[in-house]
Symmetry: C2
Subunit: 211 residues, 2 copies
């Protein structure tokens, strides 16, 4: 938010090594921050004009430093995916496997619930650009789940591939049947889902395992 924002720096190191003017940097920071908010509220389909408007600058200013809309969106999303990966790494070091899984799950679902664009990106809406990140994250979730199962803290009739789908599920649904979800509906959803993951399986799971 208020730190230098590596995204801004990444976008700033172009052309001759001259230091950019102060207003140029300020506007770029505004644009990146506006992009973050817009992506969260509107999703990856947000337009360049919409971001420029939010930042309080013209589109000309947008395209002066930003090569293309797509580059900006990928930069912003890549940063968030990095953050998620870090949370997963820390969770893997938790001495209590189940607690580690819960901590990661809460962070993951929160990020998805609070940013429409992050959900879309994790769902694969950004094509190959973020595919590498997604693969890495998948591996970390797999390890988190299998570690919890090995410790006897989780049902073993559930396979690790179910977990990403369940976490994605917990984060969705801002509106249903005309009801507006509270800010924390995702916490309630996640809580119930995690309860459903605990041992003592009440019955066998139907359907084939996902590919």
């Amino acid at each position: 938010m208020s730190q230098p924002s590596s995204a801004v720096d990444r976008l700033l190191v172009d052309e001759s090594g001259r230091r950019p003017r102060a207003d140029a940097r300020r506007n770029l920071e505004r644009l990146v921050e506006a992009a973050r908010i817009a992506v969260a509220e509107v999703g990856v389909g947000v337009s360049a004009h919409a971001i420029a408007d939010r930042a309080g600058v013209g589109v000309g200013t947008f395209y002066r430093r930003i090569p293309s809309l797509q580059v900006l969106l990928e930069t912003v999303l890549d940063e968030i995916l990095d953050e998620i990966a870090n949370v997963a790494d820390r969770a893997l070091e938790d001495p209590d496997p189940w607690h580690g899984l819960c901590v990661f799950a809460a962070a993951y679902v929160r990020l998805r619930a609070e940013s429409c664009g992050v959900s879309e990106a994790l769902g694969g809406a950004c094509g190959d650009a973020l595919a590498q990140r997604l693969t890495e994250l998948r591996g970390r979730i797999r390890r988190l789940v299998e570690r919890a199962q090995a410790a006897g803290a989780m049902r073993t009739d559930i396979i690790w591939q179910d977990v990403p789908f369940l976490l994605a599920a917990a984060a969705t649904g801002e509106h249903t049947l005309g009801m507006q979800a509270s800010d924390k509906q995702w916490e309630r959803n996640l809580h119930i889902i995690l309860d459903g993951l605990r041992p003592t399986p009440p019955s066998t799971l139907p359907g084939a395992a996902p590919a």
Copy 2:
């Protein structure tokens, strides 16, 4: 699918009481069926041209009998919402309240998972057009949940408003982290969620109740 389709009839009873030509009726049936499939695959954002193409007719034919794209979409969705309401009514007559809830939940989640457009409509994407239906459905779900709780078959720290969100959640997520969900992933999700709804609450639920 192959029955006369009340939607077709509803669209056909216009202008002078003359019986329409056979080809006219055939094309309208094709259009309605194409709309159903297109709404399921693409969602309520599908275009009139896309539906006409799927039906194998021109757009002129589309607009000859159909007043507007919106009318067609609402007609198709209204029919499905009717079906859901009927399932709920039957579930309310089940002598076992928990079994009734499970049967309804499975049908509801299946319909949502199999039709992108139904999910959007239940999420409120169609504005006021379907608001009445949504309200009715809400009441039925409330009764199903409270009946199950009164019978002691379901945790009482969950409120009925949680259930529509949980069911919506179970149905979402065709892709996550680069993985393609199996046809029946929704069954696995729902199964785990229903397990989480059973009595013996492991802990208290965080967050405020939704409005």
